[in-house]
């Protein structure tokens, strides 16, 4: 305990971490005097939920046209010329509720970089050619990348659309084909004018900057128009009746499956933390810790991996970590079954749900609880090894109105008991009502098998353990209560159209 206190004391000396209000501007600072890098994150409280009907994709296209555009006298091309020798980068990520612009630069070029980075946000050129290029890129993402060349992403987005029917979360963040086609440059300028206001941005900076820059940022960003757009009130997602299935039909060699249901829990809720432990035990992303990974891949070799989540999870690049700054007021529980051979798609779905039922019924043992709790406390400390990621988590904490998330994980998990975890599982997770999205070539066959609860026996090239075959004998007949009116087959070319 003594060690811990000493080190906590050291922390205070090393970092100055501020959340300040400056002329109605919200700042988060992480000042590290000796660090030669500087990371910026400018978070705008605007997301796909702000897209007007018929212009789905407006938020994304606005963000793209700003980040991949020009400012003042500098065209997009000029900016690439200037940034290039510094290896500095500017990028944008947009989600349902927020859009975040990130910048990374060595402090050798901080001042010049900041002028361009802030200029893009405060004085965007909105050139017609940048607008056109970014619009085409978004359209190609929907028409070609999602529909044609990435079945895993197609499955995940199909689930989101299906799960949030008639809800502001019910579109791809990039929009729809028809929505994007209807958007004009004038629409983009208006969206910028309405959403990029002083009270609607949150400015984050981390690294070896000097304090004069903070003053300058305060003055510069104060030039944004005042006001804060009214936050859209989110309705409750539509109730789900039994298991509803969306089958996206396309020629492919394996079936990609995502399934889930909305939950009434976010990081602001006490129950998020016991659910975090439960979820890690059940399906921690890309590890062999999770029951799903062990059962589907480890014991049966059905696919590359199967994981579960209690909030929207976007992987940060090639790492195993979650991308920061994709917060949401409403979250969902999901299971991601990576592509399985068509012949085992029914069995794989059954096995995942059988294991979910087992989790809900039996929960974790004391030993499983302790091992998973300790893992999560330690592992979460690895989530913030870079400046930009730490800054992102600090800003997410501000968005949710909680203490610093990484600290909060430790604080909350240390208080938990196994009973807390098992109660939270029973309160929030279930197997009766959910949405399933599957991308497969054998749509009709899969539909009939689901509706008829056709047995799905499985065979292996190896002699597997008796415990595996014994469970398989149960799982092959595991009854899924499919809603017969809600098994939809949609040809892939119709997805994301309107």
């Amino acid at each position: 305990m003594k060690t811990r206190m000493i080190i906590t004391g050291l922390l205070i000396c090393i970092f100055s971490f501020f959340m300040i209000a400056h002329e109605h501007l919200k700042f988060t600072e992480l000042h590290l005097e000796d660090n030669p890098l500087v990371a910026f994150r400018i978070l705008v409280h605007a997301g796909a939920i702000n897209d007007p009907e018929g212009k789905e994709g407006l938020n994304a296209l606005t963000a793209m046209t700003i980040a991949n555009g020009g400012t003042g006298d500098l065209t997009f091309r000029d900016i690439q010329e200037i940034l290039y020798p510094w290896a500095a980068s500017i990028s944008v990520n947009f989600d349902k509720e927020v859009t975040v612009f990130t910048g990374n630069v060595h402090r050798d070029h901080l001042d010049e970089f900041y002028t361009i980075f802030s200029g893009l946000l405060l004085d965007p050129r909105f050139d017609e050619s940048d607008f056109r290029r970014n619009k085409t890129n978004l359209l190609n993402y929907l028409r070609n990348t999602l529909r044609g060349t990435n079945d895993e992403e197609l499955g995940k987005w199909s689930l989101q659309l299906f799960m949030y029917e008639d809800h502001p979360y019910g579109n791809v963040d990039a929009g729809t084909v028809q929505g994007l086609e209807a958007i004009t440059l004038e629409d983009v300028k208006n969206h910028y004018k309405n959403m990029y206001t002083r009270e609607n941005v949150h400015i984050g900076i981390a690294g070896g900057y000097n304090n004069a820059l903070i003053d300058k940022m305060g003055q510069d960003f104060a030039s944004l128009p005042g006001g804060k757009p009214e936050q859209l009130v989110l309705p409750q997602p539509k109730p789900i009746e039994d298991i509803e299935v969306l089958i996206v039909e396309k020629p492919n060699r394996a079936t990609a499956i995502s399934l889930g249901f909305p939950i009434d829990v976010t990081r602001t809720d006490k129950d998020f933390y016991p659910l975090m432990v439960a979820n890690s035990f059940f399906g921690e992303h890309r590890t062999f810790n999770g029951v799903l990974m062990i059962e589907l891949r480890g014991l049966r070799g059905l696919n590359y991996g199967t994981y579960s989540y209690i909030e929207n999870f976007i992987q940060d690049g090639g790492s195993t970590l979650m991308l920061p700054n994709v917060p949401r007021r409403q979250q969902y529980f999901s299971i991601w079954i990576r592509p399985v051979e068509h012949a085992t798609n029914h069995f794989s779905l059954r096995l995942a749900l059988y294991e979910l039922e087992n989790l809900v019924e039996n929960g974790l043992t004391q030993e499983e609880f302790e091992a998973t709790r300790d893992y999560m406390i330690n592992f979460s400390k690895l989530w913030t090894q870079t400046l930009s990621r730490r800054l992102g988590y600090m800003m997410d904490s501000a968005w949710y109105g909680t203490d610093y998330f990484i600290d909060k994980i430790e604080e909350e998990l240390m208080k938990l008991t196994v009973e807390d975890v098992n109660r939270a599982i029973k309160t929030h997770l279930q197997t009766g009502n959910m949405k399933v999205a599957a991308v497969t070539a054998n749509a009709q066959e899969f539909k009939e098998a689901l509706l008829n609860n056709t047995p799905s026996p499985i065979s292996y090239s190896a002699n597997v353990d008796e415990s595996v075959t014994a469970k398989d004998a149960i799982v092959k007949d595991y009854q899924l209560t499919i809603n017969p009116d809600r098994v939809l087959i949609v040809p892939v070319q119709e997805m994301f159209e309107e």
Binding site: I7, Q385, Y460
Partner: protein
């Protein structure tokens, strides 16, 4: 139990942001961290790189074996398959127990396979070093799995193939390598051919041979970056790895004969996609003394950086493609300078290909301005320095050079070589390697096209 957890947590807590340094002068070493090296009696090299990540270490095991070593017919993809088998346990630690140890430590761990090497990595708290050395040495020395586990894991490999199967670029890489390399093992991808993957469950005996050949100290290097003391690391390596017997296997990789004429192929794609173009030019193997390689990398920047005229023309001005990229990547044997593009309209496929060739011809015919060369050198130095921002990225960078040459000093030698590249070198190298006779071209579209 709880005290131990708390202490580990507290130590890790400090390791939040690490630093990267850029040399003040261009002639300073580009890799700014001290590197310590020891070699055990059995030939195992142990390297440590102290780096400012208090409480955290990144532990890499580099095996200088990849799909390049898959010389036997019908066994493509085996190095990658074997990487999976390394997680299947030993007599001392079953697969579950191995995972439990890392779970208790809160470690982030995984592995990957490339053409030339296989990397196993763990990021964990620094005070877990001995436990990490213990479990890693155990599996590298004493791996033991059943035939049943072997066959089950083959299913996961097929799953990995399946998850990539919808990506046209993956299929195009398979095709272009097959065309460009008729003898050398670069002719197949790291994942391997589908028919070989399907046959993997039958290759249990070969897997034992593979382990016996390559998972030996002379093929491996331990690299630890972060909060680590070299004496302590060496002591632990001595304790846990010294019983590892060296092997005798050396592999003869078939040499690829020179390519003497252009090769072309078209692939039709079964679902929605924009047309794709992939071009590969034969280029030499990595050699830290060969100035042609930095020059090739610079040519990659001249053609495809976001401020390059070709990029600007195709992506920004005329908007014919939504991406165009390419470049040289270090390989232990002669490989390809690869160019990729996704074209918005199939009618422009030929035009885009010609634009790329015209830009290459321009480099052959006109020397680049020295100022442009300086900008590229600046970009390469800054991007390299800025990438060294975690213990893991530092360990991985050293691993990359160790696998290429076995010598970590290669990184600084290489950047010295970059400094000496002149506009004349760039022109000479463009003329030498970018010829129609040494190029392979793959196109992909929903439609058939006229070749």
């Amino acid at each position: 139990m709880e005290d131990t957890v708390l202490i580990k947590l507290s130590i890790i807590y400090l390791a939040i942001v690490s630093m990267c340094m850029l040399p003040a002068q261009s002639n300073d070493a580009v890799f700014p961290f001290p590197v310590h090296q020891s070699v055990l009696d059995n030939g195992l090299t142990v390297i440590s790189i102290p780096f400012d990540s208090p409480g955290i270490i990144a532990y890499y095991t580099v095996v200088r074996t990849g799909s390049r070593n898959e010389v036997e017919e019908g066994l493509s993809g085996f190095a990658h398959f074997f990487e999976h088998m390394m997680f299947r346990g030993t007599e001392q630690y079953s697969a579950e127990e191995y995972n439990e140890v890392l779970k208790r430590l809160g470690a982030d761990h995984n592995a990957f396979t490339t053409d030339d090497w296989t990397g196993y990595h763990i990021v964990a708290s620094a005070d877990a070093l001995e436990e990490v050395v213990k479990i890693e040495s155990d599996r590298f020395m004493n791996l033991k799995y059943s035939v049943e586990d072997f066959k089950t894991e083959a299913g996961a490999i097929l799953g990995e193939y399946n998850m990539n199967a919808a990506n046209p670029l993956r299929q195009m890489f398979e095709r272009i390598r097959e065309m460009a390399f008729t003898e050398h093992t670069y002719g197949h991808t790291t994942l391997g051919y589908l028919e070989d993957i399907k046959d993997m469950p039958n290759q249990f005996d070969y897997s034992l041979t593979f382990f016996d050949r390559y998972y030996r100290p002379e093929y491996c290097t331990i690299i630890v970056a972060g909060d680590v003391q070299h004496d302590r690391l060496t002591q632990l390596a001595q304790k846990y790895y010294s019983g590892w017997e060296p092997g005798t296997w050396t592999v003869d990789i078939p040499e690829e004969p020179p390519q003497t004429e252009e090769k072309r192929s078209h692939m039709t794609w079964g679902s929605a996609t924009l047309p794709h173009l992939m071009i590969g030019y034969r280029v030499p193997e990595f050699d830290e003394t060969n100035i042609d390689l930095p020059a090739l990398n610079i040519i990659g920047q001249l053609l495809f950086a976001r401020n390059a005229p070709l990029f600007q023309k195709l992506v920004v001005d005329e908007q014919l493609v939504d991406f165009v990229s390419g470049g040289y990547t270090d390989r232990r044997d002669p490989y390809l300078f690869t160019i990729m593009s996704r074209i918005k309209n199939i009618d422009n496929m030929g035009r885009v290909e010609q634009e790329i060739y015209d830009a290459i011809e321009d480099l052959k015919n006109n020397q680049i301005a020295p100022a442009r060369l300086d900008e590229i050198k600046s970009f390469l130095r800054y991007s390299f320095a800025m990438s060294l921002n975690t213990a893991s990225s530092v360990a991985r960078t050293v691993s990359q050079f160790i696998q290429l040459t076995g010598d970590f000093n290669t990184v600084n030698k290489l950047f010295d070589l970059y400094d000496s590249v002149t506009p004349e070198d760039v022109q000479r190298v463009a003329r030498k390697y970018f010829t129609p006779a040494t190029r392979s071209v793959v196109t992909l579209a929903q439609e058939e096209i006229q070749q």
